[in-house]
């Protein structure tokens, strides 16, 4: 019996679908089950998408604490707004959209505190290429700081394109803009990034 049929059967019989059945269901079936009253279905949605949402938030905010809070916020908003999800895109894309909006709002309100990695503390100095690792770590911190200085839409485009490996079309869907605007923002982001890094060095 497929997961969707099992969920439907549980709805008809008014018995809760087992968590394992829900875990086997696809996103569409989970949404239907959730809207039909199964809270467990939302738990499975969280379980399935929490890592990607957390990573998105982390890349926007650069620290675990804020990323953790915003991930929770994204899922709370998703809970309240899932009824308006019409299935035009994948659930993951829709969650990215919610996530980007939440992150952009947060960034607009306050500048997040970037976690500074102290390379010396994390690198074993006894290894032969220790100095190179330290230099690489420092450069990574500088790049993250530079990304944090980008205008919000450019930053969002860069994060979604490079880290989440989304297509221009998907990014346009997430950001609610045109493909042309996404491409332009991506190139402007890289150009700005180069300038910021040059100034910093």
């Amino acid at each position: 019996m497929s997961a969707a049929v099992a969920i439907w059967a549980s709805r008809v019989t008014d018995l809760p679908a087992g968590i394992e059945t829900l875990r086997a269901a696809d996103d569409r079936a989970l949404i239907q089950a959730f809207l039909a009253g199964h809270r467990d279905a939302f738990d499975v949605i969280v379980e399935r998408h929490r890592r990607q949402v957390y990573q998105l938030c982390y890349r926007f905010l650069g620290n675990h604490e804020d990323a953790s809070d915003l991930t929770q916020d994204v899922f709370v908003r998703a809970f309240k707004g899932l009824h308006s999800f019409k299935g035009d895109s994948a659930l993951g894309t829709w969650l990215y959209r919610v996530g980007v909006n939440v992150c952009l709002n947060r960034v607009a309100l306050k500048t997040p505190k970037l976690e500074t990695i102290e390379p010396e503390l994390h690198v074993d100095q006894r290894t032969p290429d220790a100095h190179e690792l330290v230099a690489r770590g420092e450069r990574a911190v500088a790049v993250r700081r530079a990304i944090a200085k980008l205008p919000p839409k450019q930053r969002a485009t860069l994060v979604l394109r490079i880290y989440q490996e989304m297509s221009h079309e998907e990014i346009a869907t997430v950001l609610g803009s045109s493909v042309g605007a996404v491409k332009a923002n991506f190139f402007h982001a890289l150009g700005n990034l180069k300038r910021i890094l040059q100034q910093a060095s």
Binding site: L35, D43, H83, R136, V143, L190
Partner: protein, 158 residues
């Protein structure tokens, strides 16, 4: 290629650098359980929203109901709706108001040379149907007065 980059390699190098800088430290396995628990707790008091079409059934039903009620009222009006008769019912007041109306005097001054055809084309003339209705709505006494006035105007003796 944009003006910011001299060649494709420089462009690719920057993308690689951004990629390597974006590694997200993996939180502890417990974090994921805590996160799920926090979300569950945060939405515990929230009702599960229904599908969007169920969310809006009340306002849609209210709108349809309103349209239906208005439709029934309009449909149940008599075919010869006394739209004009409402104003004519109290014919005495109506005539008096018109006589003292500055606007009516203005029309009187402005329109003596307007041909009847032009007024009719402009939709300013009452239809014969409306006149019939107005007369039908008069009380017997008013109708007698009207007949007397018409006879007087036409020079017909009683």
């Amino acid at each position: 290629m944009t003006n910011d980059f001299d060649n494709l390699d420089e462009f690719k190098d920057l993308i690689d650098e951004v990629k390597s800088a974006g590694e997200v430290p993996e939180p502890s396995p417990l974090f994921w359980h805590h996160l799920s628990a926090r979300v569950r707790e945060a939405v515990a008091a929230e009702p599960i929203p229904g599908p969007w079409w169920m969310m809006y059934w009340r306002p849609v039903l209210a709108a349809v109901g309103t349209v239906a009620v208005v439709g029934i009222i309009v449909w149940s009006q008599p075919a010869h709706a006394p739209a004009l008769a409402v104003a004519v019912n109290g014919s005495n007041e109506l005539i008096a108001d018109v006589e003292v109306s500055e606007m009516w005097r203005l029309i009187e001054v402005a329109s003596p040379n307007v041909p009847l055809e032009s007024a009719a084309e402009a939709g300013l003339m009452p239809t014969s149907y409306a006149t019939d209705q107005a007369i039908a709505a008069l009380s017997p006494a008013d109708r007698e007065k009207l007949v007397r006035l018409l006879r007087k105007e036409m020079g017909v003796s009683e």
